[in-house]
Chain length 395, copies 2
């Protein structure tokens, strides 16, 4: 065999999701790209903010000597300092550049964090529904994923969490605003979660990391102020990116920020820098580091995303879809009118509408709808959502 | 402890190299950056070719819609096709875009390849002296590194290799032109190596991959034509980058190319694309992919590097240093006049000259000198090399 047993097995497990993507691609070939309403991808159609283009232009017109060379594996001091300054402003915690490591997006950030902290067999807790790559990331570094349930509002059930944290638990990984549900964890919930983690640290004599994957942090609605998970547990780490807030997912630019109050912070940060190197990322893109260091206070139009959310949430509610109204990110996660979410998503395909079955996120009976698309696609999808719902209700 | 046992152990093992770097940094603080002759880093001071700046400018002035979005994990079809076309031209083998995966540099490429092909405990053979990160890369994915010797010309000893390939051997990883020695493997050697691998494949009923790490492929001297390892073994993979040939190490842009004659090629390429995603690289930088797709035939000034090689090789030879004259890359790897290479490198530091002990590459009694620096640094280092050699000979 040309590939490892493990990779083969995990590719085969993911293959029905791939099959659905292929079915979508085949629909596009059949009906033409513009006649298929693809709400299956978290790939924003919005362009980066004007400030991004200006910074890029400025650098291209007046290049700095050596600006494409290697730098320290942690990134440029000025970029790390800019991130630290903005985080200090937003959180009220005093970050310095020594708390920040620039990374190849949030995916790179998470792999670096997990590689750094996990011993073989250590458990990482995530909550369903979850971003399915988490399972791969944990497995890459010898860890074991444990999946915990959420309530009707997609909030972690802390009573169940409590009985499942044990001596092997190394980290709890959360994602607020959440992919795929769009919900934002409240300050109250985070406070209770932090308290629980510290109680368990005492009980087992362990360090329990709270890892916060927060690339949608800036994309929140209704005037909400982002409740930072880091405020509620000292042993905590942000793993995030500018893929969504600056609409740069293809450029792979993100960072890790360690809570300055974390115990053994220096050892931890040195470990992160070391693993950023040895996992083969080496450093985050030199050019992107220069640019984002000047764009820490800039975000794409959140009002635009809120408008899209309101549009789709309103229409789907009217059609009878049942869902939690999300306060962030750019996803809806309604219940599917059929219990079999894969069957319902196939039904939607009949109307040239593409969504992702909740089963792909560990929550069958739901589907993920991405609304980070243009208005024509959004509007065009409505008929399919209506027809598919009517048909399965009629049947 | 905040970091894993394994990361802590491997950081501690590498710590003497780090200590030497720190001693270098402290010298720079003490004497001023311009008075320290740092030949310790493979970080080219040359700027990218003019064509790079033009392409970047063109894209910035006329941005393509969606040019910073996610694309397929393998990269843009046009970029993969451009790489395939250039490789076909250079090798005479017919590559298509389906044989190419764009990656986060050669380090990303190698991690993706190793993750894809290694089962736990599989052995990967490398030759000393070697780029020390190889050991981390193999270990990241559950493999075991086996280190084989080279001869006086730094060519693999095939007779010893032959007796060491066993049923657990999965791959032989080579690097020509070589870091740290600068030597280029001859066609004759590669032919014998390929033959040996196929004999062993038959003997053990295994697939033996030849992985060729070749970022210095274009940086070769004396009118040499690059002997492509891929021509001599069908089960072979290139893992490379544009860090050196386009002087873009900080931008992390490289690729994997699979020999089209490789058995189970499609499964292998699908595995590579999958691992590029699940290891958290996701995709190579969108912007860099666009640019390098138009620069496949462009290279930095090789004449300039050859001039630097001739300068330093000539002077060091005259001073009595003994070394193989390298035909590629931008390193010299002389024997140290003291058997204790660490002691000799410390001696050089007394003269504000920085080099890396051969022990860091698995070959004590040598040192690596990088000449990818400006002429002032190169010229300024000569006195230190002379004085240090005289002193230890005198002593």
């Amino acid at each position: 065999m040309s590939i490892s047993d493990k990779v083969q097995k995990s590719m085969a497990q993911g293959s029905w999701i791939r099959r659905m993507f292929e079915e979508g691609a085949s629909l596009k070939r059949q009906y033409g790209e513009e006649n298929v309403f693809d709400l299956s991808l978290g790939n924003p159609e919005m362009e980066p903010p004007a400030e991004f283009r200006e910074e890029l232009k400025r650098l291209v017109e007046k290049p700095l000597p050596g600006m494409h060379r290697y730098m320290a594996n942690a990134g440029y001091p000025e970029t790390r300092a800019a991130v630290a300054e903005q985080l200090s402003l937003e959180t009220g915690i005093k970050f310095t550049m020594n708390d920040v490591v620039m990374t190849c997006g949030a995916a790179g950030a998470m792999n670096v964090v997990l590689k750094t902290v996990l011993n073989k067999g250590d458990e990482v807790i995530i909550f369903a529904p979850f971003f399915p790559e988490y399972i791969n990331y944990v497995d890459n570094h010898g860890g074991v994923t444990r999946i915990m349930p959420t309530d009707e509002q997609f909030m972690p059930k802390l009573d169940i969490l409590e009985t499942n944290i044990g001596a092997k638990t190394r980290a709890v990984l959360i994602n607020s605003p959440n992919n795929p549900t769009g919900v934002v964890y409240s300050e109250g919930l985070l406070r209770q979660l932090g308290q629980l983690l510290r109680e368990k640290e005492v009980q087992y004599g362990t360090q329990l990391f709270l890892i916060s994957d927060e690339p949608y942090r800036r994309i929140i609605y209704d005037g909400l102020k982002y409740p930072f998970p880091l405020l509620h547990h000292p042993q905590s780490i942000i793993a995030t990116s500018h893929s969504k807030d600056l609409a740069l997912p293809g450029e792979r630019i993100g960072y890790i920020a360690v809570n300055p109050e974390c115990s053994q912070r220096e050892e931890l940060v040195n470990g992160l820098i070391y693993c950023n190197r040895t996992l083969g990322y080496v450093n985050a893109s030199a050019l992107m580091q220069r640019i984002v260091s000047r764009l820490q206070a800039v975000t794409v139009s959140v009002a635009e995303y809120q408008r899209k959310r309101d549009f789709l949430y309103g229409h789907l509610s009217e059609m009878g879809y049942s869902m939690v109204k999300p306060q962030g990110a750019f996803y809806l996660f309604p219940k599917t009118p059929l219990e079999d979410d894969v069957a319902f998503v196939r039904e939607l395909q009949q109307w040239q509408v593409l969504a992702v079955p909740g089963s792909g996120f560990g929550s069958p009976g739901h589907m993920r709808i991405s609304y980070c698309v243009n208005d024509r696609t959004l509007g065009g999808s409505l008929e399919g959502f209506r027809k598919a719902a009517e048909k399965v209700k009629g049947g």
